[in-house]
């Protein structure tokens, strides 16, 4: 178990591509950090720098107060679980899990205890004599995690460990990883492009785009107070609806609707009067019985709630109504916005 400090990390690959810019993060002992962002934003690169699989071009990596920036991976006491499992096909599950300890020449009985304990935690005791190809995807992923657990590392790193699994299994494995984290109390850094995984797993989320950190915060912070347009549209499903609006003294005017400002909001936007900003509304913050016309194009019942797709003005909008609705394409529904976000159009930052 350990705390980590990533200080001003830069990564420039040999081909001069800069994948990570000035990455700063302090991870507390036992914390579950999720790096989230679209494919190619530099998540894996950051994780691999922590693991020592990539050189750190600039910056410092501190683990437990010790500078490990240029330390080889094997000395960092870190275990990494990959998306493709990387299991040894000719070895049994038991041997796969025991292998790294055998390389370290640990006592066979000690190895046995550790492997059995990990197998117990992961529910793999009955599979120990099987080869990886006799296992399901979820079981293979568990073996990959077991291999990390037996080493009792200071830090666990996961690079999209669930993306090869089908949706249902992903859900159950997500819960297992949560339990595992609770049980081991270990520091974990987890990479994913799936914002649902990030919201459900993380103590804190690091949201990245194009090599830059966009926001660091708890899931609720990122959901409630996104720092900029990128975070606002990346976190939340379906994504936030964004409208270009003109700011007047006491209201916002968008194409096909007006939004009346409260006293507080007027104060917040006093410097933007006469200019354009971006108004963000999450689907779950759109409700019926308002005065904004929406032309319905599609009605998706999800059971507990209904996704109503349509247009406000020319803009495509999704509303999530907490009811079973039966709108038909062509229906006009009167909507209202119950909670909104404002973003500066130039800087894309949230106006707070």
């Amino acid at each position: 178990m350990a705390d980590l400090s990533l200080q001003h990390l830069d990564k420039i690959y040999d081909n001069k591509v800069q994948a990570v810019f000035d990455f700063n993060l302090d991870v507390k002992d036992g914390e579950f950090i999720v790096l989230v962002g679209p494919s190619g934003c530099g998540k894996s690169t950051t994780l691999r720098m922590v693991a020592g699989l990539e050189d750190i071009t600039k910056g410092k990596l501190i683990i437990d107060g010790k500078d490990v920036t240029s330390m080889p991976p094997k000395d960092r006491d870190i275990a990494m679980v990959f998306q493709n499992y990387a299991l040894y096909g000719h070895m049994t599950v038991y041997e796969n899990m025991a292998f790294s300890l055998m390389l370290r020449k640990e006592n066979k009985n000690v190895i046995h205890q550790k492997v059995m304990a990990a197998a117990e935690i992961l529910g793999l005791v009955d599979q120990l004599n099987k080869k990886p190809k006799q296992l399901s995807g979820g079981q293979r992923q568990r073996v990959a995690m077991g291999r990390a657990i037996v080493r009792q590392p200071k830090v666990f790193l996961f690079d999209e460990p669930l993306s090869n699994l089908d949706a249902k299994l992903r859900g159950s494995m997500r819960r297992e990883i949560m339990l595992l984290h609770k049980r081991l109390g270990a520091t974990m850094i987890y990479v994913t492009h799936d914002q649902t995984e990030a919201l459900t797993l993380a103590d804190r989320i690091v949201c990245m785009s194009m090599g830059y950190v966009q926001q660091i915060g708890t899931p609720l912070e990122l959901y409630d107070t996104p720092a900029n347009l990128f975070v606002a549209s990346f976190i939340g499903l379906p994504p936030m609806n964004l409208f270009d609006v003109d700011v007047l003294e006491d209201k916002l005017v968008g194409e096909g609707f007006e939004y009346v400002l409260s006293a507080e909001q007027k104060l917040l936007l006093r410097n933007y009067v006469g200019s354009q900003i971006v108004l963000g509304v999450r689907p779950e913050h759109i409700d019926i019985n308002g005065d904004i016309d929406m032309d319905v194009t599609n009605n998706e019942n999800l059971g507990q709630n209904t996704l109503v797709h349509g247009h406000i003005g020319k803009k495509h909008v999704v509303a999530k109504i907490r009811d079973w609705c039966n709108y038909k394409p062509g229906d006009k529904v009167q909507m209202k916005f119950t909670h909104v976000h404002f973003f500066d159009k130039q800087t894309t930052n949230a106006i707070r």
């Binding site: 049994t92 038991y94 066979k108 009985n109 046995h112 059995m116 004599n129």
Partner: protein
């Protein structure tokens, strides 16, 4: 760790690890046997051909095949394969008294041009000792590996049985 715990854990470990020792001993026995027949077949003498070279080749091939099968079997603590290893080990000892002894007792004449012909045996004393050592090695490896295999196989079977009992109660 208590001694008893250690024993218990060793038993438990066997459920998930191979009997590499017996298996490796069988493979080493094959190596010793290969060296043995290389030595035998290097003896370029007509007497060898007369003494049914073909039967010897087949015996050696058969030996290697069965011992290899045994090495795979004992890996999984199979008692039958371990017993087979012991039997084959005994046969290796008996082999000393067939071709090697016969060839050691068969006289032959070596003629070098310009010199008096020398009388000697097909297998000279040095070769005979070497061959005996190789066969005894192979036999020892097989018998020891087989005995270890039988003991461990019985231990594991008993342990598995006791686990089954415990589960039923």
């Amino acid at each position: 760790m208590l001694n008893n715990d250690k024993k218990q854990m060793k038993l438990d470990r066997m459920r998930y690890t191979k009997n590499a020792m017996s298996s490796n001993m069988a493979l080493l026995a094959i190596v010793a046997n290969v060296v043995y027949f290389v030595v035998m077949y290097k003896i370029n003498n007509k007497a060898m051909y007369e003494l049914m070279m073909g039967a010897s080749v087949i015996t050696n091939l058969l030996f290697m095949l069965t011992v290899f099968l045994c090495s795979e079997g004992v890996k999984k603590y199979n008692i039958k394969y371990a017993a087979a290893m012991i039997v084959i080990g005994a046969i290796e000892l008996v082999r000393i008294f067939i071709w090697p002894l016969k060839l050691h007792n068969t006289e032959t004449k070596i003629t070098v041009p310009g010199q008096e012909p020398i009388m000697t045996t097909v297998l000279n004393d040095g070769q005979f000792v070497l061959v005996i050592v190789l066969l005894v090695c192979a036999a020892a490896l097989l018998i020891a590996g087989g005995i270890i295999g039988v003991i461990r196989g019985k231990q594991l079977a008993a342990y598995n049985e006791s686990l089954k009992q415990a589960e039923q109660n």
